[in-house]
């Protein structure tokens, strides 16, 4: 098995691509909201967690699969709209640090509500477990979810690019991301653009919830917390200024953590987060504006 590319087997490579795709979707969700609101949503993982609990509950109630997924989408979208209305809107115009701390608070609030509601042991979402079965190509086993995740991510990104480039709302969103005040002066309706961004980011969170419950069927209150921290790091490492660079950053960090997980010897695999975050620090110190940011267009100032 351990053949070919740099001593990394194909299975690890496929898993890394799958993880990268899921992280790329989360990165888009975080990046879209950042684009219009200049707000880094630390509570994004808790949206995913809420969706995952919806899936787990519906599989516990023996609902058919599609109603479970529908419930998941409904819960996540309603929650993200509520979050926008109750927290993001009153905070509009505050400094990025204040908003980041506020979403930090929201994240802990939602997590502890889940803890009160469902208990620390969590629930199991089994309805999509069949996606964990492998498909054999040549002599390599690749889990179906890897294909599904990669395929879904590619579809979502293509749809999003079409939306941003071919529709009026997309044009408004790009304008708002470039310069919110000027966009408003020219007739872009702020609340509408923000609502659209929040809903799209919610839809992506719901999709991620479905994917992640396949990989980790046990849904606990801290579900997706670690992933969100990693994705946030990836988004900042990639470059928050443009959606493309943020997405690439998300994919890169997912891919890197998948590869590292496969490449590290077993007795060192527990140090995976250290290696990953050391790389994050290294990149931030060398290129604070982002790895994939265009040169001469850095948002983050170096002292």
């Amino acid at each position: 098995m351990i053949a070919s590319v740099l001593g990394i087997d194909w299975q690890t490579l496929a898993d890394a691509v799958g993880l990268g795709s899921i992280y790329a979707l989360m990165a888009v969700g975080i990046g879209l909201v950042f684009g219009v609101l200049r707000l880094v949503n630390f509570a994004y993982g808790q949206l995913v967690m809420a969706g995952a609990f919806a899936l787990a509950l519906s599989s516990q109630w023996n609902w058919p699969l599609w109603t479970g997924i529908l419930l998941c989408f409904a819960v996540v979208i309603v929650l993200s709209l509520l979050m926008d209305r109750l927290v993001f809107r009153p905070l509009r115009g505050q400094s990025p640090a204040v908003m980041l701390v506020a979403t930090f608070a929201v994240a802990f609030l939602l997590q502890s509500i889940a803890l009160l509601w469902f208990g620390p042991l969590g629930k199991i979402a089994t309805s999509l477990a069949f996606l964990n079965r492998p498909v054999t190509i040549g002599n390599v086993d690749i889990r179906k979810i890897t294909f599904v995740a990669t395929g879904t991510a590619v579809c979502c990104l293509v749809l999003l690019v079409l939306l941003l480039n071919r529709t009026n709302v997309g044009l408004h969103m790009r304008a708002a991301a470039m310069d919110f005040r000027t966009a408003r002066l020219l007739g872009v309706r702020a609340n509408r653009v923000i609502a659209v961004a929040v809903v799209i980011s919610g839809v992506l969170a719901a999709i991620v919830a479905v994917m992640l419950t396949v990989q980790t069927p046990l849904v606990t209150p801290d579900f997706a917390l670690d992933n969100t921290i990693v994705v946030l790091a990836g988004v900042v490492v990639g470059g928050m200024n443009r959606l493309v660079s943020a997405t690439l950053g998300g994919f890169a960090i997912g891919f890197a953590s998948g590869l590292l997980g496969g490449a590290l010897p077993t007795n060192q695999s527990q140090y995976l987060p250290s290696f990953l975050f050391a790389a994050v620090i290294l990149v931030l110190v060398i290129r604070p504006g982002g790895l994939f940011a265009r040169s001469g267009q850095t948002a983050v100032e170096r002292v």
Binding site: L91, Q270, E301
Partner: protein, 341 residues
């Protein structure tokens, strides 16, 4: 006259700490632990304030200095005879050395400061989001390494057998030391220069202030205070890596923000107020009787309430309870001129 104003500023936080300590002597032994804990929280939040409040740069990484301080003081003060049983894989020099309470706290501060220097040298060049994420990365790495590297500590298991020397007296003296250190710093030349960079980095640079160097100085001092607070903490309760991770990061940041991040008074008020609410709810989770009513909240209520409180304060009063101001006595017959804001 300026000295008088400065002393008035110092008196606010010190009186609050002393009041908490005095109140702590009046209650039962079990309740006293909450007061001691609150005073240790004051030390941690003052350490956070020294950097975040004065520089305006967000740091999610300070709990890693607290953790390192706790590890230093903890490992070094477990009695020699018990070390092989609790921490069998410890480095030889750590296994062979045990120090007393005060030296262990001093060493905790030294290690916290040294680690902050190592981390700060590259990271203090960053601002804004990049700084936030990079300090978060430091927290992740520290947590990960302390959790699995059993040559420098107990790993995943909880610290036991550390002498519980942090009583009410030690905690209050330590909180006052932290407050005085932060006060002295913010009235020093360095503190003023750093505050200038917070208000307007471009203007500060234009008059020749090195933003990088001022931030680094504050970061190291605040790392040392955080390490010191970690030493106090490990002498108070049995800790493990999970106690010194995201929850503590969240709750201490919440304390700072709720109190008012840009003043020392705010840091102390926030730490004491949130600790008070938190301890009350912690007791309520176990069931208590208040005014004839039995309160029994389910576990987890604490963070719900503190999280909601923090979100509310941020929305309604972004500069905190104190509004980010220090204590001052207005003088009659003089026009007060306020700069900034």
């Amino acid at each position: 006259m300026r000295l008088r104003a400065a002393l008035v500023q110092l008196s606010g936080p010190v009186v609050l700490v002393a009041a908490a300590a005095l109140l702590g002597t009046l209650v039962s032994h079990a309740t006293q632990t909450y007061f001691i804990n609150a005073l240790v929280n004051v030390a941690i939040v003052v350490a956070l304030y020294l950097f975040i409040g004065n520089s305006g740069v967000l740091s999610f990484g300070h709990i890693s200095f607290v953790a390192l301080g706790a590890w230093t003081a903890g490992v070094l003060s477990v009695p020699l005879s018990e070390k092989p049983a609790i921490m069998p894989q410890l480095f030889h020099f750590l296994r062979a050395t045990t120090v007393g309470n005060v030296p262990s706290l001093a060493l905790a501060a030294a290690v916290g400061g040294a680690f902050a220097l190592v981390v700060g040298l590259p990271l203090m060049r960053l601002s804004g989001l990049a700084a936030g994420i990079a300090t978060f990365a430091v927290l992740e790495i520290t947590h990960n390494v302390l959790r699995y590297w059993e040559k420098i500590g107990p790993g995943v298991t909880t610290f036991s057998s550390v002498p519980e020397t942090t009583g009410l007296l030690q905690a209050s003296v330590a909180a006052v030391i932290a407050v005085i250190a932060a006060w002295a710093y913010q009235h020093s030349r360095f503190g003023r220069l750093l505050r200038a960079t917070r208000e307007d980095p471009a203007a500060a640079r234009a008059v020749g202030v090195s933003v990088y160097r001022q931030r680094l100085i504050a970061f190291v001092l605040s790392g040392a205070l955080a390490g010191f607070a970690g030493g106090l903490y490990v002498h108070l309760l049995p800790l493990n890596t999970e106690t010194l991770y995201l929850d503590l990061t969240f709750i201490t940041l919440a304390m700072l923000v709720i109190g008012g991040a840009t003043s020392l008074l705010g840091a102390v008020v926030g730490a004491l107020a949130v600790s008070g609410v938190d301890s009350f709810l912690a007791q309520a989770e176990n069931g208590i009787h208040v005014a004839g009513v039995t309160l029994d909240f389910p576990a987890g209520t604490r963070i719900v309430v503190v999280g909601a409180l923090m979100a509310l304060v941020l929305i309604l009063r972004p500069s905190g309870i104190t509004g980010g101001r220090e204590l001052s006595i207005p003088r009659r017959g003089r026009i007060r001129i306020e700069f900034g804001r």
